[in-house]
């Protein structure tokens, strides 16, 4: 097997911004004292005159971004997910969401995989927060390739977009022939008839691995990557519900309000089947190395396998 290439999606974000800056000579980037950590440092170096550090003032940064957009500027605003979605939530809702301004929010350090910084920085609520805002597009890429594609695609969306990136280096999984990124379209990565694992972000790779193990144990698992949490691909979910009768969702986010909830929202209305959610179970995280934490919180192929097996009996 070829060596697995690993890369943090925050790096992909930084590189994509530099690319975008070339094509769009009017693109502006804002940050709140985290230029290197959120990887917008590259853009800062390449286009210093189009880069503005707002200082440690995330709420104001979102307001500045709103004003820039209202005056016709193209703008990305960056911080950690905790502060971009959390600290600045109400500004994002009222100054960006309500007027439907095309501000792009690049939020890095999402989820438990922040690691050693601990609970205060491990944002597992951002998808829930952002998806409640009418008109907000919410994207959670699963690897380097998808992260870059998402940044480019966001540029063409005439409305607010929230893109979630990670700190941890994760395997590049979308380098296969025929991969195509389309906002709002899920990707079936593996066919299967007995159960569907619907995953997002760094759990997509884990879902693929889990499906392999399950196959060996005689369970045919379909794997769907939902990179766009909003607008969600209802068709692919309903089809999976009809054809496999059991959905397992997996995300590095609270089980409240994230992908699992979004999937349940889709099926309860039309095709009720059991939906079993894997995610952070309504608890705060804690400090530790990211790989250890992901295991501990059940955000692993191992736990997906276990959960699938334990859930098979739920099928009617």
């Amino acid at each position: 097997m070829a060596d697995i290439i690993k890369k943090a999606t925050r790096d992909s974000y930084g590189e994509a911004l530099v690319e975008l800056g070339k094509v769009h000579d009017d693109l502006l980037v804002l940050v709140a004292d985290l230029a290197d950590a959120t990887k917008v440092e590259g853009f800062k170096k390449a286009y210093p005159e189009r880069f503005f550090d707002c200082g440690i003032a995330e709420a104001n940064m979102m307001g500045i971004a709103a004003g820039l957009a209202a005056a016709g500027k193209k703008v990305f605003a960056s911080s950690f997910a905790m502060f971009a979605a959390g600290r600045a939530y109400e500004i994002v809702r009222n100054s960006i969401g309500y007027p439907h301004l095309p501000v792009k929010i690049g939020a890095t350090h999402a989820g438990i995989s922040v690691g050693e910084d601990g609970a205060s920085h491990q944002c597992c609520e951002d998808i829930a927060l952002m998806r409640t805002i009418p008109g907000m597009t919410v994207i959670n890429p699963s690897d380097d390739i998808e992260a870059k594609a998402a940044v480019f695609a966001a540029m063409d969306i005439d409305g607010p977009v929230y893109i979630r990136f990670g700190r941890l280096a994760i395997p590049v999984i979308n380098g296969f022939d025929g991969y195509k990124f389309e906002v709002g379209k899920g990707v079936t990565l593996k066919e299967g008839a007995d159960v569907t694992i619907i995953a997002t972000g760094l759990l997509v790779c884990e879902a693929l691995e889990a499906a392999k193990t399950l196959e060996a144990d005689g369970i045919s698992a379909r794997v769907i990557n939902i990179h766009t949490i909003k607008p969600i691909d209802e068709d692919i979910i309903i089809k999976a519900a009809k054809e496999t009768g059991l959905l397992i969702t997996a995300e590095e986010h609270s089980v409240i309000g994230g992908l699992g909830s979004a999937v349940a929202d889709v099926v309860t209305a039309s095709t009720p089947v059991p939906v079993v959610k894997i995610g952070v179970n309504d608890v705060f995280g804690h400090s530790g190395p990211a790989p250890e934490l992901l295991k501990e919180f059940g955000l692993s192929a191992e736990n997906i396998v276990k959960t699938v097996k334990a859930s098979m009996s739920l099928k009617k």
Binding site: D33, D53, G55, I56, R87, D117, A119, S287
Partner: protein, 278 residues
Amino acid sequence: MDSELKKKLQRQAAKIRMNIIDAVYGAKSGHPGGSLSIADTLTYLYFAKMHVDPKNPKMKDRDRFVLSKGHCAPGLYSTLAERGFFDVSELKKLRQVGAMLQGHPDMKHTPGVDMSTGSLGQGISAAAGMALAGKIDSAGYKVYTILGDGELEEGQVWEAAMFAGHNKLDNLVAIIDNNGLQIDGKISDVCSPMPITDKFAAFGWHVITMNAHDFDSIEKAFDEAEKIQYQPVAIVQTSVKGKGVSFMENNAGWHGKAPNAEQYEQAMTELKTAMAAL
């Protein structure tokens, strides 16, 4: 300051600096720069000023401390351990799975930590809330909080400043660690919060300046703070980020990074030499 006390505090601060380096080195991550810049102030607060009891950390009438710049937890933890709130061996487990000492202060699990912090700008509000509670209860305790100078860029800091000034919270002392640096560089280059003293004064605070690495200056500042009535007090301390470790001093690159083995040895040698010279 009494020369005996000064020597004692200087030794204690040197020990705390070594603990900071030990803890961050062991964790392979964390924030040494801003922890070292407040080591002397923390030493003075916990060994000469605050009314606290390590055996009874929740004592009702204790003075409170809120580390508003929560990333400097290694500084606070090292001080609390030296003061006897928990065993010094806990520092070796900093930031690891199962550790009591989290990356940022967690009041639920760490004795002596009066408020959970880590998201900048929030600690000063909580400190003002504690001070208000003290007023409501006619309790005699004081509330101390330390903020970063970069942290002053958060609007919430000024909302808290307005509230404390308006409510005449003279039991609140906010120490601003003016080390001149934040993550992206100099505070004056990133998004300047200067002038600091005039801003607090404008919000009705009594403002004092001090040298953060001179115990005479520190004592003088806190003595003055003690006497102020009907106004909250802001002590703006001029400090050196990374103080005590030559290659970390005044270097934004050491904001949130652990030393490697070689750097660790050099840092410890420098701190031990400084200690021996006392």
